[in-house]
Symmetry: C3
Subunit: 364 residues, 3 copies
């Protein structure tokens, strides 16, 4: 008998990737109300589109819509097993869009295509992988699509346990654009929009935002240790950096567990939500996102937004473009008082930045 | 271009309130099984009315009933955005009733009316706001109604971002009383009650309780850091005292995060549940509740009950009136051995007290 | 008036048990998607039978199947109130089987029969209780059956508050065997099995495992404090060892809270799942399980598997028998390098061991 000792490994090193490869990530997960509650327990967001079946139905959806940042966290985490379980860092979010609404009890599948591989010029032991990730429901409808870049060590992974991939047949995503203007709007919002009554709603229609406005959000959130690990595992992120303290003692750049980036993204957006997107009809997309500094359990996160631009969109709605930043352990108001350039500056408290566009009713 | 720097604030200071004002709180939330599971993961309660669809249906309800203290926590937390996000403390629970059953997938809306405003006589920089809060489902049916008092600093809040409130038209709650005897019973329990079989149920019918009995509950619960923050956010409580450590370092009376009062209430009730309400048919109401001392993450909570009174109610059921107290970091048995007056005394370990009435079958 | 002071206690001491007694545990719980999400947030498992409605339906089930280790944790925890709330330790898992699939919204009831009572020969103040526990759904269908042994102090429990048990009429479980070969297979898998397509699935059909193979699983999991307490309460485990720090300071062998054994079991299995059971069609059973050392919050768990045996089962499937071990705070690879006998040795890092059989398709 040939007694083998195996130590199966997942993810890939730089030389394991080839441009054009498509990975079907193994997690196939039915989204459920439990998942939505666990996200609602960390990310405060008043927009009833995501929390109220009554409101969402009145707006034309068949149920409350799964929060876009639940979707981003699921899709990003699903890719780790194949793409970034050996990665050093997540570098960038690019052109993230939500072309269709996701609902509880949809079953989510995710696949990624390798768009580019580039050796680092400054550090020759690592390189950048550029990929496009697509999430589809049980009917093949695209729920989310985005690109990202990850920093990966060079080499080929010994003990890699992935099966040979089947051909990517039948996996071409359906055309994304559902609107003639190429704005990623779900079909429910392409026709006339009748915003449902919502007593008590916070301020925030299109006309409330002016180009150049800075909004210092006052809410903060101290990250709990169990909290961030549970959300990481719930979304099927398999990188030990987030939940294996023994691994992290030797191999984490922070010498301890680091909070998963998609969660930091979701915290920044949720801390801004009451002042910006409480009345948003749709998250049209995110772009140019990155994590300049890590977040650890016990850090307190804050957010600030700047209105970059706005334009009317049809007779009823307008699009506002925000820059969103996340900072840690000091309020945006305090940083600003100290002369920090919140939106364009580099400073140690900055943990996240991204640009986003949201669709808002012209008036409330 | 007029580049503004905004720092939107929520809640109100004493001079922002007017008697008769009605606030429609912005959170509109569909209750779901995820929310129920997260509460079940912190609050042990054997009563199958809240956990078993089989039992609840046999008793005449259409599904298991959402636990009354889930409802209290949701309704209380929903009010914070408008009422108490700037408050110093929550002072009192008054006349809390549950006139109708709530179910998973009901959509909850909450509004509050200001009943009174009073400047503190001892400390002139603060005052007491007295309000009545009503929670309704998507059909306008009243699920919960209660009054509370909060301690609020004097002044008007600069940067207050609430929209002007629409008129409170159509918001008069339906009459509460569904029984000729003015006991807040849901319609399902007004007719003849056939208690379903429940193998293995703990002791606790009407005849098992005698006036004057003291029950020292042995179960304790150490509060987890992530646990209490997640439940606070899940219920949409927006007061930074509970989840923003940077805010708390300067502005919390405890210099750190403080556990939300509604959760302490729920822990006291759940720690008592196995010995008192395992067989309760309905929580008829709570009154005269307060939090004499704060609870921090890591504190261990215990509870004790005293039978204040009992009376028969119809041919099948009786009503038992309990005093319920919550204490921290020492068992009620130990406190009693040291001569502490658990129910009427003041002592540093006492974190909660309230009176409650429950409907019980006369015999099991 | 006779004012009594009561301190109701639960569980039993050795002399409270009689062979043949049947306890109907008081918890009657409808399994829900919230419960599944909370387990999914701690126990990473790629098998789509448990996560994907699409996959489970294509395999012949009516919905995704509740994970067997959710079922084990519920059933084990339900017994604590009657059996082991006063116990010193949980000693052994014996002959654990899952004869039928459980689904979300099934209502679970659990009862236990005392099979044996034996005084310890070395320490005369304690003894071993041997019981068989059965979990049934609302239709009386057996979902899980297992035996276990617990170490209990001698004596009779003063203040024991359990009601006198009704006769065990009508509680004989239905015959377990649904297959002529006495393998505990649910009806859905007794006929021809058509394994659904699953793009991206990890390696792991019958032919991938060879007798004697050792698999060192690389994933670890650091146990969160809130995380393990929430899962303990969610499953209705009422032993204060797991969530009452004041109790534990005096009465825990570890002087602090100890992670519930069923959770350690589930972590070991989940950490092994990507390399062993990602493609399993059914968990045929576990046997000879024990916890040689305790796990505390903050410990990091790892797992290793050994292929003990394999045999074909019909034309399409085979059965692989694994030994599964769980270790803490050092990787299995590191322990092996230091010469530790992972599977048959005794060493301080070993926190769990068990044997298991899984049904696998012959080829993928």
């Amino acid at each position: 008998m040939n007694r083998k000792i195996l130590e199966p490994k997942y993810g890939r090193l730089l030389d394991d990737f080839r441009v054009g490869d498509v990975y079907h990530h193994p997690w196939e997960v039915t989204i459920d109300d439990g998942m939505l509650a666990m996200f609602a327990a960390s990310f405060l967001d008043p927009n009833p589109l995501y929390s109220s079946t009554r409101f969402a139905r009145d707006l034309g959806f068949r149920d409350r819509v799964v929060h876009p940042l639940v979707m981003l966290n699921l899709a990003l985490s699903f890719t780790v097993h194949d793409v970034s379980e050996q990665a050093i860092a997540h570098l960038a979010y690019i052109d993230l869009k939500f072309p269709n609404a996701a609902y509880s009890r949809d079953t989510l599948s995710v696949y990624s295509e390798i768009l580019g591989i580039r050796l680092s010029e400054s550090k020759r032991d690592r390189g950048v992988v550029h990929l496009r990730t697509t999430a589809v429901n049980q009917n093949g409808l695209v729920l989310l699509i985005f690109e990202r870049k990850a920093l990966v060590p060079v080499g080929k992974l010994a003990g890699r346990a992935h099966p040979v991939q089947p051909a990517a047949e039948g996996l071409t995503p359906r055309p994304l654009s559902t609107s003639s203007e190429a704005v990623a709007l779900p079909p429910e919002l392409v026709t006339e929009i009748k915003t449902p009554q919502w007593p008590g709603r916070p301020i925030g229609s299109y006309r409330d935002f002016d180009r150049g406005d800075t909004i210092l959000h006052t809410l903060g959130h101290t990250v709990g240790e169990s909290e961030h690990m549970q959300l990481t595992i719930l979304t099927r992120n398999s990188h030990p950096l987030h939940f294996d303290e023994v691994y992290c003692r030797d191999r984490s750049f922070a010498k301890t567990r680091v909070v998963e980036g998609g969660l930091v993204f979701a915290w920044a957006a949720s801390l801004a939500s009451r002042d910006t997107t409480a009345n948003a009809l749709w998250d049209l997309g995110y772009d140019k996102g990155s994590h300049p500094a890590p977040v650890l359990s016990g850090d307190t996160l804050y957010a600030a937004s700047q209105v970059l631009d706005k334009r009317e969109h049809g007779a009823q709605t307008g699009i506002v473009r925000f820059k969103l930043v996340g900072v840690k352990n000091e309020t945006p108001a305090s940083l600003l008082r100290r002369g920090v350039d919140l939106f364009d500056g580099k400073f140690e408290q900055k943990v996240f930045e991204i640009e986003r566009e949201v669709l808002l009713a012209l008036r409330s």
